[in-house]
Point group: C2
Chain length 438, copies 2
């Protein structure tokens, strides 16, 4: 059978990785797909630069439209990133009846509903495994492997840069800004690191995971997002004393009344496998009603790791080239007309446990005032650590773990504690999830 | 669209779990598959016994042939286990053009080549996700999710009973026979536990994983298998002192000259995620050339966990009911005519590191004799622990970790050490794998 012709948009890190993997593993891929896969054209911003692709022959053009419109091209791989012109080019490919593979999480999280709608009308597939957790086949696992389950919740370390920073802070007691600078020097973090450290990148991925897990439309703008820039080495050390690790988690949980969607620093019991996922690695823990918890771990970024997902998608697309549209795996796991209109819950309605750290005057009665505020709000305390005051300091750090409580109640309690004259400054609050099987 | 009618062979633990999950999640499943899935008939040994299925209506028969031959039945789910009559019934279903879903690892490992051959001739799918690691979608991950990779090796904890026993031995210093008795009482281990503790069950699963990873025919009889019954709490403690955990691993590694296929107790560095997979849980670590290492963790057994995989297979089968046979995912990941004839390597050719424990006389020169034997065989030592002799004992335990060496050379060195008059009894040898990214 003739090979399938692929047009590539973008020849950056992942684009070069994809070309390299398709070339190096051409024989293995054909042994699996029953058909070769060949990149025939690639659109680049500058077609004179050397791409370091060695012997691999590839026709380059600076016109992305030319690649999309090329009648030889059956599948378009979009690796430009960002919203425009990626969105426009993907829709243009779809309208021409071409299948699309993309690694673009922002595009899918923000415009996926529109894109899948167009794909449905035109009878093509848009595959996006590479958009979440790099090469880990998490989309396939949740969408197909767990298709018999009602998925109750999932929690993921889905931003490698953030995980690298928290790991370094824990292992070496270093400050956030210090490690961030190193991550930038190593090329892990962007020059503008806010997508990574403020949780926007993780929110893109969580949006996609929640949709395929629960059968809801993509709703990026409803994700609650809190970054890791205010985490201190002291918080990490205190959490450690209490038996916890701090991870930047994306959490999605389905209730009858709605869906939790949140990205924030989270304490996790140290004995959980996911608490031991360190450095730039990613992992997603998924709880199905039949299967119980499963965990998927691997590289969440990198040229060839991400290319691995792009190529897997290409092989899937090759297989469905001749299959009826109605028998394909639905883009968001559930049939388009079976999506649910469950609301995304406001963060005030979330129930979670908390790590609280505050500075209070070192005199009798202060702790009683604080615990009375918590008690009045119906918040029970699981553990308290009271540290010695630093020499000459008027205030001592008090660290508390609470049982689970509605976030709205906790907000009120925190406001009341901050209003106490004996409490200095703000109360640091980090959410805590046990991630046990329930 | 009308629901797909399923005939069930066997209504034991997994059979009941499958009926329960299909019923409880009927709405979710139809939202995903675009079509309902309904068990219309089930074959049981005794059709008068109460199955504890409550409200679920199900026509029971004691004739498996009747279920297979029922013209209403489009898909046969085989959950009898064992070789016969399962093999005969699966082939009978295939010959009638019916798709088959099975959880039967022994059947696939021993007769999969014949079964897939028949399925190819008859244009049907035989799905077997539930045969390996219970509900973890490891077949799908390796076969489809990692399809762009040359898979270099994989290593798995793929027998929950064995892992439970080793975990209990480590955490409580208990003896093997003691924990085995408890596992039997808890219903984890069979009355005849040899499939679990001698590694036969793991070898079935490893056979299947290696085929879909490397594109080789199923070759169960070439798997090297060593059980865990000779592991002592002392070995586990010594390994711990040296920074390792002992796990019963299935290891498959692809070389140009052939394939390693082996199940044996293995030391793993404690910092590896897979070393921290405890109790009855399963995990498989897979190394792809593009993706690097990924790990898949979850419940390897249990009624609903296994049913989760059976139902996912059913949903896949529903989707391919109308798709062309040549565009389906190949049973063994690679197209049938693209399987490779790479040999499975004899265990003597394997290269691995070792943990050695022996009892030697507590006098000068003995250690020199032992290390000279290792040196002469080209085996270098990474660490030595020499323990104090027990009060009144003539012999002291000596524990060594070696660097990597060909197993054949190690066998000769062990024979030479055992021949030393100063060495008492046998040398205990446990293989050690670093499972690092290389």
């Amino acid at each position: 059978m003739r090979p399938v012709n692929v047009g590539l948009l973008g020849l950056g890190t992942v684009g070069r990785g994809t070309v390299t993997v398709l070339e190096r593993n051409a024989r293995e891929i054909e042994r699996r797909a029953g058909r070769g896969i060949r990149v025939v054209r690639a659109a680049v911003r500058d077609d004179t630069r050397d791409r370091g692709l060695g012997q691999i022959e590839l026709e380059l053009t600076t016109s992305a439209e030319e690649v999309v419109d090329d009648p030889e091209v059956a599948v378009v791989v979009e690796l430009i990133g960002g919203i425009e012109p990626a969105r426009e080019l993907v829709l243009r490919a779809i309208e021409q009846g071409k299948h699309v593979v993309t690694a673009n999480k922002a595009l899918i999280a923000l415009h996926g509903n529109e894109i899948f709608d167009a794909a449905g009308r035109c009878g093509v597939v848009v595959a996006f495994e590479a958009a979440v957790a790099g090469g880990i086949p998490i989309i396939k696992a949740v969408r197909e492997g767990l298709a018999g389950n009602r998925i109750e919740w999932l929690a993921g370390i889905i931003n490698g840069t953030g995980n690298f920073i928290l790991t370094e802070m824990r292992e070496h007691g270093r400050a956030f800004t210090d490690v961030l600078a190193q991550a930038q020097a190593l090329g892990y973090a962007e020059a503008n690191p806010s997508y990574d450290v403020e949780g926007i990148d993780a929110a893109h991925k969580l949006t996609i995971l929640a949709s395929i897990a629960f059968g809801i439309p993509l709703q990026f703008h409803r994700v609650f997002t809190e970054g890791i820039s205010r985490i201190t080495p002291a918080d990490i050390a205190y959490a450690g004393e209490l038996g916890y690790r701090i991870k930047h988690l994306g959490v999605a949980r389905c209730h009858e009344r709605g869906v939790e969607l949140r990205v924030h620093p989270t304490l996790i019991p140290r004995r959980r496998l996911i608490a031991n996922v360190d450095g730039v690695m990613n992992a997603v823990l998924v709880k199905g009603d039949a299967l119980g918890p499963t965990l998927y771990y691997g590289a969440g970024a990198g040229a060839e790791a991400t290319a691995s997902a792009v190529v897997a998608d290409l092989i899937d697309v090759v297989r469905v080239l001749t299959s009826d549209p109605e028998n394909r795996v639905p883009h968001l796991a559930f049939q388009p007309d079976a999506l649910s209109d469950l609301p995304i819950l406001p963060i005030d309605d979330i129930v979670t446990a908390y790590y609280l750290r505050l500075e209070a005057e070192d005199r009798p009665g202060v702790l009683a005032d604080i615990t009375r505020i918590l008690g009045d709000a119906g918040i029970s305390i699981e553990a308290i650590l009271q540290k010695e005051p630093l020499a000459g300091a008027r205030h001592v750090p008090i660290i508390m773990l609470t049982h689970r409580v509605i976030e709205g109640h906790m907000n009120q309690a925190i406001a009341a504690m901050e209003a106490l004259p004996s409490v200095n400054g703000h109360v640091t609050r980090i959410r805590l999830e046990h991630l046990d099987a329930s």
